[in-house]
């Protein structure tokens, strides 16, 4: 069971890294993240999160939206998406 987030982590507001774009690719029928000389093919969970990254929603707000959409506890979703966001941050796709 992943541990609960700290207050600061819940309040963090992810935004896309400079030059990063989330785009739907018709040819592959898939979402892609395009950036400076790199691209990511996010899995369906990451796509759900990235669609909500807009530079204003906090991690807690993203988790709350997903909790409603998927009828799951927000705390569990928060704990799931935090390591994903950290990984995307290390790759420069998002900033936390």
């Amino acid at each position: 069971m992943p541990s609960a987030l700290s207050e600061a982590e819940s309040a963090a507001v992810p935004r896309f890294g400079a030059g990063m774009k989330l785009r739907f690719d018709q040819v592959r029928d898939a979402w892609v993240v395009l950036g400076p000389e790199r691209l990511f093919l996010p899995d369906e969970h990451a796509v759900e999160v990235l669609k909500l990254v807009d530079g204003t929603r906090s991690v807690a707000a993203i988790a709350a939206t997903l909790a409603e959409k998927f009828a799951a506890p927000a705390a569990a979703i928060e704990a799931d998406i935090w390591p994903m966001l950290q990984d995307l941050s290390a790759r420069g796709a998002v900033r936390l």
């Binding site: 030059g19 018709q26 400076p36 691209l39 950290q86 936390l96």
Partner: protein
Amino acid sequence: MSKIFPPPAPPVPPPHPPPMGLIAELTHRCPLQCPYCSNPLALDPVASELPSEVWLRVIDEAAAMGVLQIHFTGGEPLARRDLAGLVYRAAKGGIYTNIITSGVTLDDRAMAALKDAGIDHIQLSFQDIDPTENDRIGGYKGAFAKKRAAADRIRGAGLPLTLNFVIQRHNAGRVAEMLAFAELLQAERVEIAHVQYYGWGLKNRAALLPTRAQLEDSTNVVEAARERLRGKMVIDYVVPDYHAARPKSCMGGWAQRFINISPAGKALPCHAAESLPGFDFPNVRDVSLAQVWESEAFRRYRGTGWMPEPCRSCDRRELDWGGCRCQAFAILGDAGLTDPACELSPQHYLMAEAAAESAAPAPAFVYRRLGVLVS
């Protein structure tokens, strides 16, 4: 019977997934003369360059095929007067646009035109962090100051900035200063890219190849900085494979992800492949990009079916794809062999012997110039 019921046709392999990236080498013209230039020794003259209308058609075909990113490079892509128009067309087609430039001709007007055209990203190259050495390596006095100004213009336009430093034995000890400079400019991304030894780089190998100790020092500096700058600046690091035990996954595998178009229109799986004999590389003047992708030249070393031993039974065969075909040809004279950078190659000792040259005094550079005799 057999006339009525012909034998079943051999199964048709499924089409290969579409290319991710298009590398558009717009021109071999360049104000710099770096002795490790990735262009071939035989440079395309300006008269052979593709006209705008062919590039525009290629860009439209790329968008339709599913190309996600286009990399405008050269030579110096800013030497093409139609660059902004090509960027505009690609951006309109939904392709992520990138320019790889030396920056020395990126003035206010060029920057504004590219910004208006919808450029997504610019990679700015430096030859060294020491201005005098930078200018000596590029063979262009005053280049460093112009590059510095170009970096400010890119930032001023609100674009993400990548700095690219090319590493070789003369500057391998200054990687920490290069990274500090990138931090100062608040670059999102920096490439610390050791020279790759093909074409001009191979010709100048004895003047450029670092020692193993130099390589290890630069690796340590990069790893420490990555840790310190996690989440702030992305550092991409490219090593020379002369000191390596396993080969690089060159281009993510032959014709797996990229199409490279030379200034004269030749379609290649990578920029160095033009040096390989026995190929009939298609030209985009004659065929579509979709035909290029399924051409014999692109299929020849795609995947694992072509592999000899020790690649064929290696559990890394779909990680490194047998390494680099151009290196196998350059060192062994046969593009169909295992990359000698791999320690499992029976000819790996040739790479180790060449690496030993790096301890000898460096000879003078042979600068990259149009019209230099190719020997």
